[in-house]
């Protein structure tokens, strides 16, 4: 009954991501859609504003590839490893000498804390003009970012801070499974994917597998994002590699460590992008190049959730 929204990654990105868009590829360390990031690079999008709590390697790669003019974020790093060097080169003074024709374009930054970013998506999803929170007191963050503003409570004389709504043009999330209509289920870390999806104008869901709608409807509490707000469903097993998918594969930590060395050297980084993104026509080629042996080492053991009974009421 429901229309299928299944599309290839090529078509989903071609149709739904436009130059100049604000794009959020969300997922907190887990379920990061590297597959979508690489396709955006491959299609040569420009002037994107990239929003994400933790830019991670995928944004380092996208920034290095020249698709972005601005970052909106709360923590900039290679989790558990170190810095994001391509991004740092677009920020730090040594690479940013004004008037130096060799200098890279400076990346525009809009910076919050984690809860600030989560609150921004929440305000976006709930159509609120602001969201209040108890962060930022006595810090330099409201100075660095004047969009973080004090707000007085209408009850008593308390003052807290507010952040403005974030409504991405496109939110892209990776998930364990969805129906062809886009009803999406996730387990493990939930991050702020739900809020980022509801806040967005367009939503692409990339999944390990498409399942029959009955699988989703058997456990309605597990649904994170309804097809109602989803524009395309892309089937891309291993699409979150080198990040991980709870229950499906582990983080490929070797790559996170390798990236530190690759990304410190602009030339080597560009070579990596050529070899692993531009010269490949999609995720299948990436996986083939990576090799099944490497992927096999990332499979976890089994830890089943068990089943509960919703009851049949007729």
């Amino acid at each position: 009954m429901t229309t299928s929204k299944v599309a290839s990654m090529h078509d989903a990105i071609a149709e739904l991501v436009r130059d100049g868009d604000t794009v959020a590829i969300e997922g907190f360390t887990h379920l990061i859609s590297f597959a979508a990031g690489h396709e955006i690079i491959r299609q040569g999008r420009r002037d994107l504003t990239l929003a994400r709590l933790t830019p991670d390697l995928v944004y380092d790669q996208m920034v290095a590839a020249g698709v972005a003019r601005k970052l909106v974020f709360s923590w900039l790093g290679n989790p558990g490893v170190g810095g994001l060097h391509a991004i740092r080169r677009r920020i730090e003074a040594a690479d940013q000498t004004d008037g130096d024709s060799a200098a890279l374009d400076r990346l525009e930054l809009e910076e919050y804390s984690h809860f600030g970013m989560v609150a921004r998506y929440t305000a976006g999803a709930a159509n609120l003009p602001f969201f209040p929170l108890r962060s930022y007191f006595e810090t330099d963050l409201p100075v660095a970012n004047p969009l973080i503003r004090p707000i007085s409570s209408p009850y008593g004389d308390e003052v807290v801070y507010a952040v403005p709504p974030l409504k991405p043009d496109v939110t892209i999330v990776h998930a364990q499974r969805a129906s062809a209509g886009g009803d999406t289920q996730v387990w493990g870390l939930l991050g702020c994917q739900k809020e980022a999806a509801f806040a967005a104008d367009r939503v692409i869901v990339v999944v390990e597998e498409v399942v029959d709608e009955r699988v989703v409807r058997a456990d309605p509490n597990r649904t994170l994002i309804p097809g109602l707000v989803v524009d395309a469903v892309v089937i891309e097993p291993w699409g979150a590699h080198p990040s991980y998918v709870q229950g499906s594969y582990d983080r490929d930590n070797a790559f996170y460590l390798d990236w530190d060395a690759i990304s410190r050297d602009e030339e080597r980084l560009q070579g990596w992008l050529r070899e692993w993104v531009h010269d490949l026509d999609g995720r299948a080629a990436y996986l083939e190049k990576l090799g099944v042996e490497r992927l096999a080492t990332l499979r976890p053991g089994s830890a089943p959730s068990g089943s509960v009974d919703y009851g049949e009421y007729r």
Binding site: T29, W75, H114
Partner: protein, 258 residues
């Protein structure tokens, strides 16, 4: 002197873990705090509830998490929730006893910088930024700081205040009260040389000196004239069991504590 039976980093993590004795709910930061808290859970604080900003309460990691969003923190946990819920209800709601933070720069009052070295708009070094640190510093009941010390990191003036500590010193408690913060700020700083607590006027003071470290090393690696407690004590050396856990279970590759 104990010879080279353990490294300064090992001593630092062990000292940090011991501080968690008697604490119930700990918000775990990335990096060294992650190891210290996981060691505490296996030693002085078996009932400690580990909270990860990724959205996990009551984690029971089967291995040392590679990052604060490792899948091993989810499997077997009490609850895996949205980040909204974690930050709004657990942290801002006042349920966290201890927030455990690292830092790039710290001043004598425990204010922390993890944002930039140099000017914000044209930094010499761009650091990760706040993540959850700014809200942990404000909302956790108390904050533990763990970091290696050096004249570059223990500075007279931090370049950017990412996470508030005791602000300008004596007036900090009043400011926190007036603004309705739940937390009382940093209570201990654990480094590779010793352990510091805070005087009533909000300034840190050396309380414990690690075996092998000297007061001269301490003074040489702090950018202000540091206070030293009368009768500063020696930190008890790591026990064989603490070292075994670190070396065999938590960091077998020596990635963090080499």
């Amino acid at each position: 002197m104990t010879g080279a039976a353990f490294t300064p980093n090992e001593m630092m993590v062990v000292a940090a873990a011991r501080e968690l004795a008697g604490r119930r709910v700990c918000f775990v930061g990335v990096g060294l705090p992650n190891i210290a808290v996981n060691l505490a859970k296996r030693t002085v604080a078996p009932d400690l509830e580990l909270v990860y900003e990724a959205g996990v309460f009551g984690a029971r990691p089967a291995r040392l998490p590679l990052s604060i969003g490792d899948p091993t923190i989810v499997t077997g946990a009490t609850a895996a929730v949205s980040m909204f819920e974690l930050f709004a209800f657990y942290l801002q709601g006042g349920l966290i006893d201890v927030g455990f933070l690292g830092a790039a720069q710290i001043d004598r009052f425990g204010n922390i910088n993890t944002t930039v070295i140099g000017p914000y708009d044209n930094p010499t070094v761009r650091l990760p930024g706040s993540g959850g640190a700014c809200e942990i510093a404000i909302n956790a009941r108390e904050v533990f700081v763990i970091m290696r010390q050096s004249a570059r990191s223990f500075v007279e003036e931090i370049d950017f205040r990412t996470s508030p500590g005791n602000l300008g010193g004596a007036g900090a408690a009043a400011t926190r009260r007036r603004q309705g913060w739940l937390g009382r700020g940093p209570t201990v700083v654990i480094t590779d040389l010793g352990v510091y607590r805070f005087d009533t006027d909000g300034e840190m003071r050396l309380e414990l000196l690690h075996p092998g470290a000297t007061l001269e090393q301490v003074r040489a690696s702090i950018g202000w004239e540091v206070r030293v407690a009368d009768g500063v004590m020696a930190t008890p050396a790591p026990t064989p069991e603490e070292l075994r856990l670190l070396r065999e279970e938590l960091d077998p590759g020596g990635v963090y504590l080499r």
